[in-house]
Symmetry: D2
Subunit: 433 residues, 4 copies
């Protein structure tokens, strides 16, 4: 997490103030429940809400001495609350506060990421509808295959990010739990009803069984999900990088006036945003491994997960948030060049229609194998001519072909519109309208 | 995937025969739909079902020449079907067959893994109920913390693997799609109704939008899920390894007569199964990274994902299947030693009750900070005596303590049963009964 | 490791026969040393070499009973050797055999990989010299930058794989150790001189300090090195995939007669080998993580590393071997199209010379900032014309430019050869000649 | 990288001031070489050194407009230098500065890490010599195996970190290169002698062939090496965590007065530092994957590596530096309990001597198989008695044993010192003295 790749909306979640504020709320809500159960005086609970507070600098100072952040926080809190503070944290253990807080932070981060995905979906959909019928080359292996539309490319991205959104909602669910269960999760010194109260107050559900810590398989799933979403970000970013290549140039990242592409080459306009997204995706993906390694804590808990989470908690969520917002901007302002798409479609002398000829030949009674050979021998000539020869011309001149298909039939097979007859169907499937 | 860590139930799914059989079914079902639509003769569809077949050795032979496995398969199929074979694969592209087949295999693998998880859950539950109230030491940081029960340890594992099961069901859902959409996913030469028919026949749903390939974010999620589940396997395995340590020895893997623990040391009984599981977990976790890297294919597809999937498809599912079944066996036959657990509980001179004394002191009007210091100064003496001194004795002899708590009150605080009053609640949460 | 991506030269190393043969040699050499030390009878050592042998099927059978592979092997060996067999394995522990054997296998695998790299270097060098001065477009961000030569592209690959070779030699060194040090590495029951003898006989050095096992940081480094080399394979593979794109088409994988690029599109010639290499790289890279997780074994050893190594030992070496040989074949037979390279160089209306104009302007007294703006305003017009306008023409028509540079001076700046004056220097650096 | 896990010595390397200072030096040294070659006026080179400077805030401001950090820096530099600034960066491209700077930073980080390893080695060696002959239990699979010494445990750690040091030196070498080769590495506008001059001045060597960027396989190797070293940190950390377990307690992290182990349980003394190191190791290991993914840049370069390196450059080096220093502190102050080690050695009723009895029986003419069975049947009784029975007593009472070995011979087999006769040899191997 570095400022260059961060948005304040997300970094705020991970600031000390936010963390201590969540700790305060957890302790205060717990006090309410404890008071209701008659374990602590009602006045003490009231005092915490009324006079409660903390001082980040003071907490740091105390922590340097006691080397324990929750104890440092409680001491600072006590300095605000006064004598009633001795009832705070009653029967709880540090992890009750830490783990519940971490989950609150992850839930808030998830909410932001879901909102990011929603904004991205809006942008993709807008551009997809705009270019629903814009013909463009479909490529497999980087090689011209058959025509598609630019809208279909974006419809695929839309469907993919809708899946990402659903995964993010599920990942949020995974970590939306609260544990207030004491030193080894037995509720020895605290009633389970406290946990239920705090859970509800903090927008969480009670962890069915905890062991001082909330089990880390939940978090592993959360970070693995971020890794998968980052991989989808990479996919769309790589697509745009390809489209912007000099020789392809079917789309370009928006290039603002005053921007310089290269200190040395004044003519450069580089897809630097999507290249950047490619790198950010690698980072977020990489964080999923330590998150999975965090699952196998020893016995009822060890604290090896903590350093990992202090780093990847912010790093993964901040980086993915930044990436999603950046990708949304790229899509929103993407320069799209339909003329160039058409030019590229025309580039290969009609080879993109080869399959259709193949099928027509088999329909006309030629075996599949023979059809394949007939088309291939003409296609290879076009290929070798670097698009100077036209497949249609060669086919018309091939007696083995014309024995089966008339010129009119052949010409009819080279109709671009033929490929787009089901675009509506696919759009209905994806956008439901 | 090596025989040592494989079960035939899972390896069968990945054998060439199975793959080609699925290909055959996809092609044959597609023929049915094409015949219904009038694209191919009904007789041709019938011929495929009736005379259709393939020969694995023959396919290999053809593939060596044409370097394309689907073409090799279709050629072999044609040799069985005869002339009508020219209608097979009409308007389809290889990936229609390959990707749909891969998903069928992943769905079957998921079904097996879900069944594995069910069996594991049964085993864990049985042992959990058996030891619901068996007192055992709860440990944080590997250090004695407070008492828990062995049943609670297993209840936690049960809840964790129930989550794993839910994740596996979701992962199955992710990949249960079928694509028959042609060269770049436009359905240019094949009606979307063919896809819908094949999907239904194969127990899948139609992929809303494909681009020759089914998008790989689905598979990334699938393999990431396997990685998370493997990490939970590791957690339980590590727990057992810890419990079997010579100095702890609260549980042991079953040791069969005739088994030898060491070629050199005849006395050894080692937790080799759970150590093995720890290693297997590392493998499955490792496969999630290449699966995520597979997402960003170029344009409408490149084939870089294929080599990865040919390896990790079998490797990840076979290894996790083996691990889950092995873990189930370990839990089923686990030797559990309650006497030793009690011995360990008694080992520390009553330190495990320190928190309760702390709380009682605060309840008796001592500040939290002072209470902590009072308990700690006595606890450290017990600690340094290596369990020879008893905390209760020292507290009874500490005037600052006895000023607030009577001997009877103190003795009452050292009651083991106190810790287990909420075991029922937790079991209800986990097992729902 | 699957046959499709395997070569017998490498798979042989990992077959049971090979493993047992290495075990046999280790035990037999150890017997020699023990006999020299007077620990076992000389005749026993002789008997092992003379009558010694094993039977793979028999070993499997015994292992099913005793669940310990080394004991099974020793029993089979005893069945061949007879009574003197009781001296075999004297004072040794299984890991002495297993770990030393694994390292022998890794050393042999390394030798093969080094030979692979040598062959690859030969191929790259040949093509580099062949195209030393073939002009081609240099691209940054996928965008035309400045001219380079195709030979320079390959010189970079050569230098990279020379580094890979040096790393592989270092990785081989890392694992070329032998341990015969007994149950916890103290040599309690075996003299260190046995270790030294066996090490020498097997082409290894004695592990300075082992703990039943050879420390796994050595293996982590080995597999991490394979991961890095695989990443370099990916780099060159990706380069070729880019060059083969329809719009670029400066080079192509060799396409054999009879090969079919697509079952549906007869015109396709796809870079399937380099796409395949891209996937294989992901796999090998992925194995480095479990190898690193293997380092932290418990105390003097646990066996969690074993399952990992049984899989990734073969998987990583076989896959990388296959990838390197495949890459060598690709480079050897790569179709290279200099005319197309020139065409692409000419595509952008001379923009590739923009920096040189910029520098000439600053040399002529214009500030860097003004020079940049002067060039950029003309370059952008060329850019927007899609290569129809020529930068040289525009500059000649820009009075702010011609105020500083004459037509002759401008024309001189558009000389391609200018860019290649240091190719010799770089080739000398790389190829040393 | 967060303050909690950072040391200023390392974070300084990654601060903007340091980066810009390195940029300045690269540009200024390049000016010297350019002046010597007569490309720029000598006075301009002098002016850069004399008046040259930069302003971090001003650079940030400019970068917000031009979106290019090197251009922003050059503009700020020009504001200090004045008119002569137009000669700065002559013929160079941004990456010449950026990549050379990054390598300078990585070299400095490596120097710090090497110094860290040296300090760690000193600490380990001191404790190893101190406890060279302290008997302690050797454990395989977490189970008592045979005796070793605590010094041997540390000697193994010493040898491992010496290997790590050698790897770090090699990794430093990998990245100690400089590239000043222009837009695509052809030196089109800059003489290779400039590169050589700057390289020497900055303590680097010239990159033999670069392509605008320094090839990223170098950096992949660097970060993979950090991952391997982190894994060795984890190994030693895990060892200490095991030794500190309540039931083992053979060593403990130093526990400072005033420190609190648990907010709830005053008696706790937890191995929190080594648990923390375990987590930090996961992080550093995780960074090696994105570093490897950075290798396959497109053509002569894309900028996807940049975001990765801006994060993991600091993250990996700062975290590993912190971890190594923390580990050194842990080892330096480690509380070591020889009495407890002896107690644990005595715990198993002499089972640790079982192998020696086995060997003595075979020496006395019993077959290996029979010897194994004889020892095992007695060992299992001791095992089942939880250390109450003594193996020596049982053997003395077993007529099949006493038929071969006298009581005196048996007693002699139970001598602890027997195991330590080669400690000197191993120490000589490791410490060379």
């Amino acid at each position: 997490m570095i400022p260059r790749y961060s948005r304040p909306e997300m970094t705020t979640i991970w600031e000390p103030e936010t963390r201590f504020q969540i700790w305060f709320e957890i302790e205060a809500h717990a006090m309410d429940a404890l008071a209701d159960l008659g374990v602590v005086p009602k006045d003490a609970a009231k005092a915490v809400w009324e006079r409660g507070g903390f001082d980040v600098a003071r907490i740091d100072e105390i922590e340097r001495e006691v080397k324990h952040d929750v104890i440092a926080f409680l001491t600072s809190l006590a300095e605000h609350v006064g004598e009633e503070a001795r009832f705070v944290h009653q029967g709880m253990t540090s992890s009750d506060v830490l783990d519940t807080c971490f989950n609150v932070q992850l839930v808030r981060a998830a909410d932001l990421l879901i909102a990011d995905l929603d904004a991205l979906l809006v942008a993709i959909k807008r551009r997809a509808l705009e270019h629903k019928m814009t013909p463009t080359m479909g490529r497999s292996h980087g090689i011209h295959a058959e025509p598609t539309t630019f809208g279909l490319k974006l419809a695929q991205a839309y469907a993919e990010f809708e899946r990402c959104r659903a995964r993010m909602v599920a990942a949020r669910e995974e970590v939306a739990t609260c544990a207030i269960s004491g030193a080894v999760g037995t509720f020895a010194n605290i009633d389970p009803r406290v946990e239920e109260h705090v859970a509800k107050a903090m927008g969480l559900t009670a962890e069915p069984v905890s062991t001082q810590v909330i089990p880390r398989d939940r978090h592993a799933m959360y970070f693995a999900t971020l890794g998968v979403i980052a991989s989808s970000v990479e996919r769309l970013a790589v697509e745009i990088r390809h489209l912007q290549r000099t020789e392809v140039l079917e789309a370009e990242e928006y290039f603002s006036p005053g921007q310089k592409g290269s200190s040395a080459m004044p003519h450069k306009r580089n897809p630097v945003l999507t290249e950047n997204l490619t790198g950010l995706a690698r980072l977020v993906r990489g964080y999923s491994i330590p998150a999975m390694e965090n699952v196998a804590l020893w016995h009822e808990r060890d604290i090896s997960h903590s350093s990992v989470e202090r780093m990847i908690g912010p790093d993964a969520t901040v980086t993915l948030d930044f990436a999603l917002v950046r990708l949304t901007g790229v899509i929103d302002k993407l320069l799209i060049y339909p003329e160039r798409m058409q030019k590229n479609l025309d580039k290969m002398g009609g080879l993109i229609h080869s399959q259709r000829v193949l099928l027509a030949l088999t329909q006309a009674g030629v075996s599949r194998e023979d059809s394949y050979r007939l088309v291939q021998r003409n296609a290879m000539k076009v290929w070798d001519s670097d698009g100077q020869l036209q497949l249609l011309d060669l086919l018309k001149a091939d007696p083995d072909v014309t024995a089966r298909l008339s010129n009119a039939e052949l010409e009819n097979l080279f109709d671009l519109g033929y490929h787009f007859k089901h675009v509506d169907t696919i759009f209905r499937r994806v956008f439901g309208e």
